[in-house]
Subunit: 679 residues, 2 copies
């Protein structure tokens, strides 16, 4: 690396240098972190020159319309460096004021300690949990490639943008970086360009003691185009971006050697620069070295002007609007579909599709695994919803995620709507988040319920960001049988129900499955998980109103005459077991009600009137039946109730034998009810 | 690859060929899967030649004493290939009968659908969740390297064995393979040797569509020694093992080109061979091609004899016992320590250490974060427990996992007892599982509670295998403040409590922290998680008996005179908030009891007498206070109770402001109690 040129003090000149422009980012990061009393200035100070080169020379965006569909996507995977992003947003003209910068990390301020998804101010994704921004970016780039393949027409490239992602050592140590980048290389996402902040430092110190990868070689092994440059040389960065853009087949990684906390006299290049304020004195000395004389939170006019992107951004979008206008003229139907999908509207035919799927499910009479009932829904809606994008983490036939009209997406042909994600649960889910965030897709993806563990933090991020991804979790209990305890979920149903803003459905038969799918499609404000059986389950008896009951998350499936002595509450494959028990009890004159509760969260959100009608407060003898952990069921059965579940691991053996061994039989349910309600 | 030589029919000769020996494995796998009606024969059939070369030519083991401390460790990371392992165990002379092989995958049989940790029959780890066996193997190899550095003396290498691991495409697609193998390369685990079953097939079909990595290059980038061979050529495998052993610095990956389902006439080389029985006809034809004429589950005597390893194994162990005898003579103290550690005994001084730690905690008066109280315990016990092996996923100072006597482990010096794992939560946890499984270590490792998500399935595997690993999860609530929702756990406390056989402690002050640590050390039968605060908490008032109460998981911290009108139950940092509320209420004449419940699971396991004394069934007005999701608390507060918690994400802001915003104040607790118990 060349000797550092901290600054060339020539603000009076009309054209500030790249370094001077980058220093604005450095100074704002230092000052904001200092004022907040916490935060991370080191990474912004190291990556400032990269940001300057990218944002001023290449990035396509319009600060006045952050939602412009064909903007380049910028992802900050090393989310702790968020002051870099906030400074960029402020300087380029987004609606981010200096007052907000001063309130960085304070309660109520949009400029949180890590970036929080808010596209209205240019924050494309929530990041901070390392590796996931990078994995999101693979989804963004895949979305772009697929939309371009589907919509673009000769001379009318309405979808044509890059996905740029900043990342650090931490992102690259995380396993999800492997899953996502291996997939990106395989899929030839040529318009994905990553900038690796290779500063040699992580929180514990110099990374060489724990991270000795030859990262360029690693990414070459994934089929990426890799460059290694001095990341503090704006010209070098610009050259590398041009080369990365010129490479249209392979995704690009630009390995940028940088100095964390560049400019800070004693802390630069050390882990002391990673987090916490640098200190008043260090900041003052750093400003001196950077040639900065303006007071805190003031940006000299020449620099401010050079950074402002409002008119250039407006012009860029205007060119695209003109293009899109011509496209609309030539291809009105496609244009309408594009607009609908980018606005997250459902197809006009959605209601009739949903009704068909539900009617078909209602007509089903065979014993059928709910994973197969799920496939039946896909067979109805898959062909008519181009935005539905499926896949599985290498369990396509097990998860039943394929459908009759599905076509496999390949590196060479991006017109498919189904991706074999490989054995990459975490990468798949984080990429699905990117697809949803980009817009234009409702992604669904499958794995076994147990392996939701692998993706758990990506599921959380989908929920935190309110993204409508659909998680297909088949093999949802010990009833899966011979594959044994490693594959048998126990705690997973309850554990997923605990994730705020994630909706979990565990349907009991084809009709509940179809309703759950429709609810998932219509739920635009968060992710939905569908827990589905491996084994066949019978179709339940249905009264005319039960589809509505299903939608409400919990409803009376089989009632008794008079006030119940006892209520049995069950979900999924255990409903038919509970039903057999309740029928026997009723035949013996017992007043027992059966409630099916496919979605506890949806039930909890109902008005008290509905909840009290289904579970009358006066009836305190209640028994829940679910082949999973007991923990959350006490809420529904109350102090006097009983929970039939299991708080230990399962066993390898034939499914029905395993279920019997652990008490999931009609006889056992019956015995528990009788014991509770009196013999 | 050379043209396949399916078999050379010369069983009558005294020396069967390698291929004939390998075919025994193939046939047993086919027959067992066929009889079970489910399972995976394809991978065993592809890897049989590798297994033959390794187990007959290199592996050091004594079937009569599967626990021999210096045995080579054999890990089957592609656990679905378990019939390969079971066949090997049976043939070489472990106590695994042909009857058991015939009962493969049946309820009650030890030969489960995926290998279940049972070292008494040579199953070193539970595998099946892909990538984790590989990551375990890194822990195994690290344990060997560290024990060798600590115990071996000139001419007396009592610790000197290899770790061999079989793995497939699925293992290599999983992100945890990146974390673990990058770490293994950095740490120069030269005695770790992996065999990659490169058969080009995963469940969804030919992997080239979703897994195009240049795997040799990828592993070279990690600093591994890599060879590529024909994995169906036993001689080539043997040669590669010799070369891998000759490379003492770098871990080795032997990429073995194989054919899944080798021998099966129509299914070999396709995903149809991955799982499910091949079918009666296909099995018959395969046996024909393999030159196999014996009836199912019968092994011709010459083959059986050639496979049997009992006398060779006994001789191998005898040589080591003789060596260890000389070692014991020369270094009796070290020998005793080695034996103690391998038997999982605690140091003789343990009780006095524990008492010191508890006494020091009891004497603490300052406001102190429980993560710092945890560090104080480590400072007491760290120097005196050589088996205690610490680390953090790049958050050492945040997690307070370092201690005064700790020394960093490096590639060059394996005498340290602290590892900077890097930003690799999943790899860290799975490697810790390997360390514990190997024996000789009590591993502890830290990350933020939120990022337990990343490691979740490894935590589950520790629990499933009953391994005593200690998980240090600091920053355990929204009170961490400015880092915001991505870093603020909400659902995690309850979600971890749901994992069967994982014990979660959330201590409220220094004393509870010290007791929790001691309980964790003494709990040899499963993992323990310690949820610790970032922020300072006051020391609670203590009566003489409360250490005993803490051990019981829940106890009365502050009682009132007479029968309580209301009981407040709290954990961790909220206990002091609840305490302030209860004191105010008591000062107003209200009869309110405060229960501290640092470990709900431990409390649940107490006799009813204790539970009813702490939470008298007659007192139904109960309020729980925990800055996490509400789900599990209904069990403790009952139908009439109130749960103060949060079922939504947190916010970025100063910790105390965030806590106030979401109702975690004494005033709010007080108001809820008053409302519940009557004004």
């Amino acid at each position: 690396m060349r000797a550092p040129d901290f600054a060339t003090v020539r603000w009076e000149s009309p054209m500030p240098t790249r370094r001077e422009l980058a220093n604005v980012l450095r100074v704002l990061a230092m000052d904001a972190v200092q004022k907040a009393g916490s935060g991370h200035a080191g990474a912004p100070m190291g990556m400032a020159d990269i940001a300057e080169a990218l944002w001023r020379g290449f990035l396509k965006y319009n600060p006045a319309n952050p939602l412009w569909w064909d903007r380049d996507r910028f992802i900050l995977s090393n989310g702790h460096a968020c002051m870099l992003l906030y400074a960029l947003l402020h300087l380029t003209g987004y609606a981010v004021s200096m007052e907000e910068i001063k309130n960085f990390r304070q309660l109520g301020c949009r400029l949180a300690g890590h970036p929080e998804h808010d596209p209205s101010i240019g924050i494309e994704t929530t990041s901070g949990p390392l590796g996931q921004g990078l994995a999101n970016s693979v989804g963004f780039a895949l979305a772009e490639k697929m939309l371009a393949a589907h919509f673009n027409r000769p001379q009318l490239p309405i979808v044509d943008h890059y996905t740029y992602v900043f990342l650090g050592d931490g992102d690259l140590m995380e396993g999800v970086s492997h899953e996502a980048c291996s997939l990106a290389g395989t899929l030839k996402l040529g318009k994905l360009i990553g900038f690796y902040d290779d500063n040699g430092i992580s929180i514990d110190g110099e990374v060489k003691g724990w991270f000795a990868d030859d990262t360029p070689k690693r990414f070459e092994a994934y089929g990426w185009h890799v460059q290694s440059i001095d990341g503090m040389d704006g010209e070098a960065v610009a050259g590398a971006i041009r080369a990365a853009q010129a490479e249209t087949q392979r995704p690009s990684l630009i390995c940028c050697r940088t100095v964390i906390g560049f400019g800070a006299p004693t802390k630069a290049g050390t882990s002391a620069a990673h987090s916490d304020p640098l200190g008043v004195e260090e900041v003052a000395l750093a400003k001196q070295r950077l040639g900065w004389t303006a007071p805190p939170f003031e940006v000299p006019a020449a620099l401010r002007e050079a950074w402002n992107h409002e008119s250039a951004g407006r012009a860029a979008e205007e060119r695209w609007q003109e293009l899109f206008g011509r496209y609309r003229g030539a291809y009105p139907d496609l244009a309408a579909q594009f607009e609908r999908r980018m606005r997250r509207g459902l197809p006009e035919t959605w209601q009739s599709m949903a009704q068909s799927a539900i009617a078909a499910a209602r007509a089903e009479t065979a014993v059928q695994a709910t994973r197969k009932s799920s496939r039946a829904v896909l067979d109805v809606i898959g062909a008519q919803m181009p935005e539905l994008f499926g896949g599985s983490a290498d369990l396509t036939t097990s998860n039943e995620t394929w459908h009759n009209a599905a076509r496999v997406l390949t590196a060479e042909d991006a017109s498919g709507d189904y991706l074999h994600y490989g054995v990459r649960e975490f990468g798949m889910t984080a990429a699905m988040n990117g697809l949803a965030l980009h817009g234009g897709f409702i992604p669904y993806g499958g794995t076994f319920l147990t392996f939701s563990d692998y993706a758990r933090n990506a599921v959380r991020m989908a929920a935190l960001m309110h993204q409508p991804v659909i998680l297909i979790y088949s093999h949802d209990s010990i009833a899966l049988g011979e594959d044994g305890p490693t594959h048998q979920p126990v705690e997973h149903l309850n554990s997923l129900r605990l994730v705020p803003n994630l909706t979990l459905w565990r349907p009991a038969d084809a009709l509940e499955t179809a309703v759950a799918w429709c609810e998932a499609i219509e739920h635009a404000e968060g992710p939905t998980a569908l827990a589905l059986t491996r084994q066949g389950v019978p179709q339940l008896p249905r009264e005319s109103l039960s589809a509505e009951g299903i939608r409400r998350g919990g409803y009376v499936l089989l009632d008794c005459a008079g006030v119940p002595e006892c209520i049995v509450i069950s979900t999924g494959s255990e409903v038919s077991i509970a039903l057999a028990a309740v029928r026997t009890l009723q035949s013996r004159g017992r007043r027992v009600r059966l409630v099916s509760m496919p979605c506890t969260q949806r039930f909890d959100a109902q008005p008290a009137a509905w909840r009290d009608e289904v579970l009358p407060p006066a009836v305190s003898a209640r028994v829940s039946v679910e082949a999973g952990s007991t923990g959350l069921w006490w809420r529904y059965v109350g102090s006097r109730g009983r929970v039939i579940g299991l708080d230990h691991y399962g066993a390898s053996g034939k499914g029905p034998e395993v279920m019997r061994k652990f008490g999931f039989t009609a006889e056992h349910v019956q015995a528990v009810v009788e014991e509770l309600a009196g013999g």
